[in-house]
Structures are given as C-alpha cells and as structure tokens.
C-alpha cells in the first residue's frame, strides 16, 4: 500500500493577532505604566485611598436636610441659567447655522459663521465661564453667557451639517414658484430639518442642565458654587444632598426632553404621553459629551 502521507497543516490559530496589533498593545501597556508612575500612582496611595474613601463615604450619609433654603436657591438659579442659556443658544444658533450651510449660502457667509461655531466649540464651558466672570462679574449672568456660547457651538455645528444634508428638490420647487428667500427657508428647508433641530435643542437643554450645576465652581452662579464651598468646608453630608438633588433634576430633565420630542415630533395625544416608552429613536447626536 502506497504510503499515504498527508500534510498536516501546521497548528496555527486562524484568527491570531497580527504582530502589529501585539506591538501596539505592548506599547499601550508600557505607556500606561510610564504615565501612571509620572502621575504618582502607587499602591500605597491606593491603600490609603481606600481607607480615606471608606471614611469619606461614611461621612456622606445620612444626607443633611438642614440648609434646604440654600439648596433651593442654588438649584433655582441653576435652572434659570439652563433655561435662559438654552433659549438664547437655540435662537442664536438658528441663523448662524443657516448662514453656515454651504448648500444655501455663498462662501463669504459660510466662513465667518463656521469660524464662530468652531471658536465656540473649542473652549470648555468652564473656561468660557471664567472669561465671562471677569467680563460681567460674579453671578448667574456669566453662567448664562458661557452656556449660551457652548450651545451655539454644539447646535450650530450639528444643525449646519443637518441643513447641508437636505434634499435640494424641494428647495428648487419652492424657488421655481418665485418664492422669496425667506419663504424658501420656511417652506423648503425648515420642514426637512425641523425634527433634527428639535432633537438637538432638547439634547442641548439636557446638557445645559448638567453644565449649569457646574459653572458655579468658577463663580458663574448656580448650585455649583454651593457644592464647591460645601466640599471645601468638609460638609460632606450636605454635598450628598446636593449631588442627589442634581441627579434627580437631570433625570427629570431627560424625561422632559423625551416628552418634548414626543409632543413636537410624534404628535402624541395626552393618553399616549402618559405611557411613554423609552425613546430609542432619537439618540444623542454623535460628537457630544453624553
């Protein structure tokens, strides 16, 4: 019998990582160790951290209910900042994004508005708040202005992109009837992008609500200042109360945003509104700080 010899394939794993991937992972690992030593991570620090953390957590509870008037003042101011900043931001970003859309406007109009939006996006809201605190003094106004800038940056960018994606057929049709420029915008452009605009605007309302609780740390009004000073005075039980309130407000804000979208976009009736299902259709737009 002829010798039956089969080449047994070498035992290689078919989906093994390529050497580039291995080197990459090794580099990432080495970098992590290097950065950790540079930043002062050490085991002893973690051990003492666990102890301190346990003590810290035990001091958070029970939440203190003593200074509810201060809490309420701060929360009310935060809400006012969020409402006004969202209103201003939405109103201002509408014309800015219309000006920035390359398919509707000539280049001399798109460049300045795009640059403005990019500038608004580049700096963190807290840093913008610092500048406004210097310009208009401590207080809620600085917070409103800082978050307005952030809103213009966010809605402006996404809404410009949304307008650039519209179908130009309707625009041509409306133009062919001899409509004025304003009519083209109102009847050909806005119906196509209104749903997304409502999505961005409600999302920004939500995000302003989160940020309005923070700009107070640099003195721009709202609950953030109260939170920061409670931290500095080691009033951890009051800190806990503030944090729980903030989380509750943010959850309420998400619910409100969902209801706004349901009413304006899905045309729900009152009965449908009461048994609202979780909103999976409109996700947070990409590129934001969800």
């Amino acid at each position: 019998m002829a010798e039956l010899k089969m080449d047994t394939p070498k035992a290689t794993r078919p989906f093994a990582l390529s050497w580039q991937a291995r080197v990459g992972m090794l580099l990432v690992f080495v970098y992590a160790i290097y950065a950790a030593t540079q930043l002062g991570f050490s085991w002893s620090r973690f051990q003492s951290g666990f102890e301190l953390g346990a003590r810290f957590v035990s001091r958070l509870f029970p939440p203190s209910l003593e200074r509810m008037d201060i809490l309420w003042q701060g929360i009310a101011e935060s809400l006012e900042i969020a409402v006004l900043a969202s209103t201003l931001g939405i109103l201002l970003s509408l014309p800015i994004s219309l000006l920035g859309a390359r398919n509707l406007m000539p280049a001399w109009a798109t460049w300045p508005s795009r640059a403005l939006v990019a500038l608004c996006r580049a700096l963190h809201p807290v840093i913008v708040a610092i500048i406004f605190v210097k310009a208009v003094g401590f207080g809620a106004l600085a917070g409103v202005l800082a978050l307005t800038v952030a809103s213009i940056g966010f809605i402006g960018k996404l809404f410009t992109e949304a307008i650039e994606e519209i179908s130009l057929k309707q625009v041509e049709a409306v133009r062919a009837t001899g409509a004025s420029f304003a009519n083209v915008i109102i009847f050909a452009v806005m119906p196509q992008v209104f749903a997304r605009f409502v999505g961005f605007a409600t999302y920004q309302l939500d995000s302003n609500l989160r940020n309005s609780t923070m700009v107070g740390i640099v003195g721009a009004g709202g609950i953030g200042g109260t939170l920061f000073s409670a931290f500095q005075r080691f009033d951890y039980d009051f800190v806990c109360t503030i944090l729980l309130t903030i989380i509750a407000i943010i959850l309420l804000g998400e619910l409100l945003a969902r209801m706004v979208r349901a009413i304006l976009l899905d045309n729900v009736t009152f009965r449908e509104l009461l048994r609202l299902k979780p909103d999976t259709r409109l996700r947070a737009p990409e590129g934001d700080d969800a």
Binding site: Q38, R45, L52, T87, L123, K134, V136, L141, A290
Partner: protein, 269 residues
C-alpha cells in the same frame, strides 16, 4: 365605493384637538419658564454696563502673552494634562467594557444585570467630571491621581453606553453560527461580536479621548492636576498674561487632538 363626502369636516386641520392642546401647553410652559427665569435671575445691571470696558481691560492685561513662563511649570503641566487624558481613557476602557457587555440585552440575557449595568452607566454620566474630581480629591488628595480617576469614572458611562448600543446593533447571524458550533462565551465575543463592533469601538475611544483632553484641561481648577492648576494659580495672582498663555496652549492642544483624531480615524477605520 360609496363615500359620503359630507361627513368629513369642512376645514382640514393638521392636529387633533388634544394634540393641539398639548402643543399649546408645551409652548406655554416654555414661555412661562423663560419669563420666570428672566424675572427672578440675579443680574446686576451695573456689571453688565461696564462689560465691554472690563473685556478691553482683560485683553489689555493679557497682551503681550507671557511666552517666557512656558518653560518649567507650564510645559510640565501641559504634559501632565495629556497623561491624565490618555491614562484616564485607558482606565475607562478597562472599566467600561465589562459594564458595556452587561448592558447589552442581546449578549447578557439577564434583565437584572442589564438594569444594574444601566444604573452604573447613568450614574457615571450624571455626575460631572469636575464633581467626580472633587470626590476623588477627597479620597486621594489633590493631584493628578484624582484627575485621572475622575476622567476614568466620568468616561465609563459614555464608553459603556455607546459600546452597549453598538453590541445591541450587531447582526445576530455570526453569533448564532458560533453558538451552533458550541463556542464558549469568550469565543463568541471575540469572533462573533468583536469584528462587528470594532469600528464603533475605535471611534468611541477616539471621541472620548478628544473630550477627555478638553476636560482634563479644566480639572485643575478644583485641584486635580494638569494645566488647570497653572491656570488657577495664574488667575488667583491676576497674572493675566500667563492666563493668556495657558488659554492659547489649551486651544492649541484641543486643535492638535482634533487633528490626531481625524488622522487616526482614517487609518483605524
């Protein structure tokens, strides 16, 4: 077909009465909120009137930018910021992947575990990174360690949520095929899900790193290390020319991060 036209209403309306009522209620609520906020918000008009003057004064003090102070403190603080952002992102990936896997209801078929994971993600996202930094400063003391942990914990929610959604959107076909061969859970994840979610994973990580670079620049304002500390001390000393330098540096780093992101997105995806 016999349709009785007369039974239709004479004038057509877009919304039913109840829908219209809801819309009006919503608009009313908005107006009410805006009016109430305008009336009660605490604005000192005198401060508003001299805002342009103050702004000019600020710009005057910022100019010329104090480039000389870049060497030493500020440059090392800048490097520290980048370390905080990058290490925080890496730590966040390690912590967020298990939570993201638990949050995806097609991979983890246990309702309780899904809800637990969702709760972790929501609480991570509800607390701002500055507040996370304050919490970790109370635990680890002021410095970059608290900043890194804050960045990591704030990012868990973001990375985990988007990763969970990416897993839920994965095609069930390859996963079912693997399950039919009797593959283990780790093989299913590695060969069934991972190839499908890989582009989403990289884009989530890059996006979060970009956000973290911005955020780590302000963490120092509460004492959590990085260039924010330099910013804070320069502001406390009214050295506005140094503040200007820090702002320009932050701006440059943010732009640089965006360029890196666009480049690596092109090569990774």
């Amino acid at each position: 077909m016999n349709t009785d036209v007369s039974s239709y209403p004479r004038d057509w309306r877009r919304y039913t009465a109840s829908q219209r009522l809801l819309r009006f209620a919503l608009y009313f609520l908005f107006i009410l909120a805006i009016v109430q906020s305008v009336r009660t918000i605490d604005v000192i008009p005198e401060f508003l009137y001299d805002a342009p003057e103050q702004m000019l004064d600020l710009l005057n003090r910022m100019w010329p930018i104090h480039w000389a102070s870049f060497r030493g403190d500020i440059s090392s603080a800048l490097i520290e910021t980048l370390h905080i952002a990058t290490l925080g992102t890496l730590l966040a990936i390690v912590l967020a992947v298990p939570v993201g896997l638990l949050a995806a209801n097609n991979l983890t078929r246990n309702r309780g575990l899904n809800l637990l994971a969702r709760f972790i993600l929501v609480s991570s996202r509800s607390i701002n990174s500055l507040v996370w930094a304050l919490l970790f400063i109370a635990i680890f003391g002021p410095g970059a360690v608290a900043g890194t942990m804050a960045i990591a914990f704030r990012s868990i929610g973001f990375v985990g949520k988007l990763l969970g959604e990416a897993i839920e959107e994965a095609q069930p076909g390859p996963v079912e095929a693997l399950t039919a061969t009797g593959a283990s859970l780790s093989s299913i994840i590695q060969y069934g899900y991972w190839p499908q979610i890989r582009p989403a994973f990289w884009s989530i990580v890059l996006l979060r790193w970009d956000i973290n670079v911005r955020e780590s620049a302000v963490l120092g304002l509460v004492g959590a290390g990085g260039i924010g500390m330099a910013l804070n001390s320069a502001m406390d000393l009214f050295q506005w020319d140094r503040v200007a330098l820090v702002l320009v540096l932050i701006f440059a780093v943010v732009i640089l991060a965006e360029i890196i992101i666009t480049r690596s997105r092109r090569s990774l995806l």
